[in-house]
Amino acid sequence: MSRSDVLVDADWAEAHIGDPGVVIVEVDEDTSAYDKGHIPTAIKLDWKKDLQDPVRRDFVDRTGFEALLSERGISNDDTVLLYGGNNNWFAAYAYWYFKLYGHDKVLLLDGGRKKWELDSRELSTDVPQRPKTSYTAKEQDASLRALRDEVIAAIGKRNLVDVRSPDEFAGRLLAPAHLPQEQAQRGGHIPTARNVPWSKAANEDGTFRSDDELRNLYQNEAGLDFGKDTIAYCRIGERSAHTWFVLHELLDQPNVKNYDGSWTEYGSLVGVPIELGDGR
């Protein structure tokens, strides 16, 4: 894998509007942005309604993923181009999720919705109707996902990357600053985690920084040992999917997992160690 295998720019996306082998998908938590205007021919996925289990705290299982993609008209042979708001947080989460279920031909649009909008590119309100397919997913690839016990066992042993803002890391906030403060029972971070906010990996327009800048950020500035396995986490797993994308897909680091339970799970667990204060 390298950058050109996983990331495309807006010109590439524009050139592939209407390409029968490419399905453009906008992924957001709140899909009202899609409803107001999206990249022409794009369909939408709702991070919560479509990708999360409606009852348990988990994402939809293999059967549910197959049903979702079949219903939306995505086939196993399609190249899926993902983009979204929030600097591609939820699109990166969906990317990770497509990879978990074994869809190989998946791409992320560099800069996502924001760059598309700031470039004043065309937005459409037409909602395409795609014929249904019979999508077959693979078993979940456990090498990409960390669960809580694995995270606790990784303290002091593996790289733990907390990609939340410094105030969330330190325990001063429990959520990003554009949301009311609520959620986990306790603030702070997992002991031995390094704080590398996801935003350091992105430029102002939402595009990813260059590979050299990213390597310097994680290795030299944050002191991550690339010889060790890595687990990334945030609050609910989408910002850390953005960092997982950087480490695993752009920088081609093996053994990088996303802990999607993240702080809303860890910060509410009874008996686990928590560290307070700013990062080093």
């Binding site: 957001d28 938590e29 709140d30 919560k48 708001g85 947080w89 990003p176 554009h178 949301l179 959620q183």
Partner: protein, 101 residues
């Protein structure tokens, strides 16, 4: 926006709510007297450290729930439009920042 969500409200926000115990920074962005409905507001800390970003609402509105302190608000909009303001936030207060770009 769902209560347990993490993303910015894609349709933006309708300003304004009472602060309660939160440190709220909110306002509207206008260009030539009209609301800027397509654009982004970013909240930055010292040294340009990114804190949060929201898309502007239909009324050009934005809102942040910040920690108390001094922040920089930066607005980005199509056509290379941008503006910056210094803001102070404190618990229990709604800091209003209206921006003309």
């Amino acid at each position: 926006m769902s209560a347990d969500g993490c993303g910015a409200p894609a349709g933006g926000v309708s300003v304004s709510a009472a602060a309660g115990s939160q440190a709220v920074v909110e306002g509207r962005v206008v260009h030539d007297g009209a609301p800027v409905a397509r654009g982004y507001a970013r909240l930055l800390g010292t040294g340009d450290e990114f804190v949060a970003e929201v898309p502007l609402g239909d009324d050009g509105g934005f809102r942040f729930f910040a920690a108390p302190g001094s922040w920089t608000l930066r607005v980005l909009a199509p056509g290379g439009l941008r503006a910056e303001r210094s803001v102070e936030a404190d618990y229990g207060r709604v800091t209003k920042v209206d921006v003309a770009i």
